[in-house]
């Protein structure tokens, strides 16, 4: 029986080459289990075989990342690897990053599961959560290398499961650090029952586990104000769903994935032309009667005539905002930005409903 072939990655220290003074050692390979890989293989109790150990100096990886990744990938292919294991990196910063980058790269390139271990506070963990690779798993270990035995046991147990093709359950049940995928599941108590239990626990001062953690959105850098508005070119954007009459571009009332721009050239008010409104999330009656509520063209023209600003871009941008996926809106935002830059737009008025 051919055992699943695993590649094991360690840094220069765990490969037995040397400490910090050897951190510039380039990528190398040994066709056997080296360092922690040996103990790992034992702990896997014959469920897999470490076919090759890859190693690299922490500094070398940081400064030659794409080369290092490319050669690791090449060797992995050559050895017909079906899983990668890296670390454990404990609290080490550069080593932790390297493990996460290699796991991500090999998972995406070869579609193989990749397992690593590091302390939950390691900076590599944030990167792992950003990547959200379905096939990459980080097992939490201690901060200090003293936890090697336990760290390897956890990794080995997990790897044996993965290599057998067993379905991996939620993070809290399987013991890995969550990537952050929130997936539907069925439990044994109804939501109403769980709510009462949780409230009684909270009132009694007992510990309870909230099912949705608190999260914040990251700040974005402030775009500098327009220095000279009188010369500026401004554009109107709306998520209210004001679109060309007859909806020729097929906007939906919910969950749109496209944006368009429509001409308002030579118009002094939205009432100078006919428009349609597509948005399933608010009562569109008022917007239909007077689309200036969402595209304040009449007011813009008046202020423009007064000399407040230089130029109004002769199109407005639109995508209906109802039920929109965040990732889709981000892509649309980036595309609209690109268009604005091409058109020399200095500032935007964005109306949302």
């Amino acid at each position: 029986m051919v055992l699943p072939r695993t590649m094991y990655y360690v840094n220069q220290f765990f490969a037995g080459i040397g400490g910090e003074e050897k951190a510039d050692v380039p990528v190398g390979f040994r066709e056997e289990a080296v360092g922690p890989a040996r103990r790992f293989q034992e702990l896997c109790q014959g469920s897999l075989e470490v076919a090759v150990t890859a190693y690299c100096g922490d500094n070398y990886f940081a400064t030659h990342e794409s080369d290092a990744l490319a050669s690791i990938l090449e060797v992995a292919r050559k050895h017909n690897i079906s899983m990668l294991v890296a670390g454990p990196a404990f609290g080490a910063g550069r080593y932790g990053f390297a493990c996460v980058e290699i796991c991500h790269f090999l998972n995406v390139s070869l579609n193989i599961p990749c397992i690593s271990g590091m302390s939950a506070e390691s900076p590599g963990v944030d990167l792992y959560k950003q990547y959200k690779d379905k096939g990459v798993f980080l097992v939490p270990t201690s901060e200090a290398v003293l936890g090697m035995g336990e760290g390897l046991s956890k990794m080995a147990r997990f790897a044996s499961k993965v290599v057998k093709g067993e379905a991996i359950g939620p993070a809290s049940e399987e013991g890995y650090i969550p990537r952050g995928f929130r997936l539907d599941a069925v439990v044994d108590k109804t939501g109403a029952e769980r709510s009462v239990e949780m409230l009684l626990d909270k009132l009694a001062g007992r510990t309870f586990a909230t099912e949705i953690p608190f999260e914040t959105v990251e700040d974005i850098p402030v775009a500098p104000p327009i220095a000279n508005l009188k010369d500026a070119r401004l554009a109107l954007v709306n998520t209210a769903g004001v679109v060309a009459p007859g909806n020729p571009d097929g906007f939906k009332t919910n969950g749109n994935t496209q944006w368009k721009k429509y001409s308002i050239d030579k118009m002094n008010s939205m009432k100078d032309a006919r428009w349609d409104v597509y948005h399933g999330g608010y009562n569109t009656v008022f917007m239909h009667e007077n689309p200036n509520y969402g595209v304040p063209l009449d007011a813009c023209r008046e202020t423009q005539r007064e000399g407040a600003f230089g130029n109004l871009y002769p199109y407005f941008y639109v995508t209906p905002g109802n039920g929109a996926l965040i990732s889709v809106m981000q892509t649309i935002g980036k595309e609209i930005l690109r268009d604005m830059k091409t058109e020399g737009i200095d500032g935007a008025l964005l109306v949302s409903t």
Binding site: V217, A227, M287, N290, Y293, G333, L337, L349
Partner: protein
């Protein structure tokens, strides 16, 4: 979300919305409080001239805001009065 991406690219955005609390959490930097969700730039309950004046005031506030330096998400309230919730 769209306001964020445009702003990230260095183009300042005056985000006109009646849901300032939400825009602030989503970290829009320059928020102009609109009237109400179905009609952010105006009020159909007002007589036509008042409605137009309200819309001009909202736009003027937006223009002012595009010229204002802010250090993070900031809410600007145009001079409008509320008739109901």
């Amino acid at each position: 979300m769209i306001a964020r991406e445009i702003e990230k690219g260095g183009v300042p955005v005056a985000h006109i919305t009646s849901m300032a609390a939400l825009a602030k959490q989503m970290k829009s930097n320059r928020i102009v409080v609109g009237t109400k969700i179905p009609h952010p730039c105006g009020d159909p309950n007002l007589p036509v001239q008042a409605d137009d004046a309200l819309r001009r005031e909202i736009v003027r506030t937006a223009l002012r805001v595009l010229q204002t330096h802010v250090s993070g998400p900031t809410v600007f309230v145009p001079d409008i009065s509320y008739t109901s919730g």
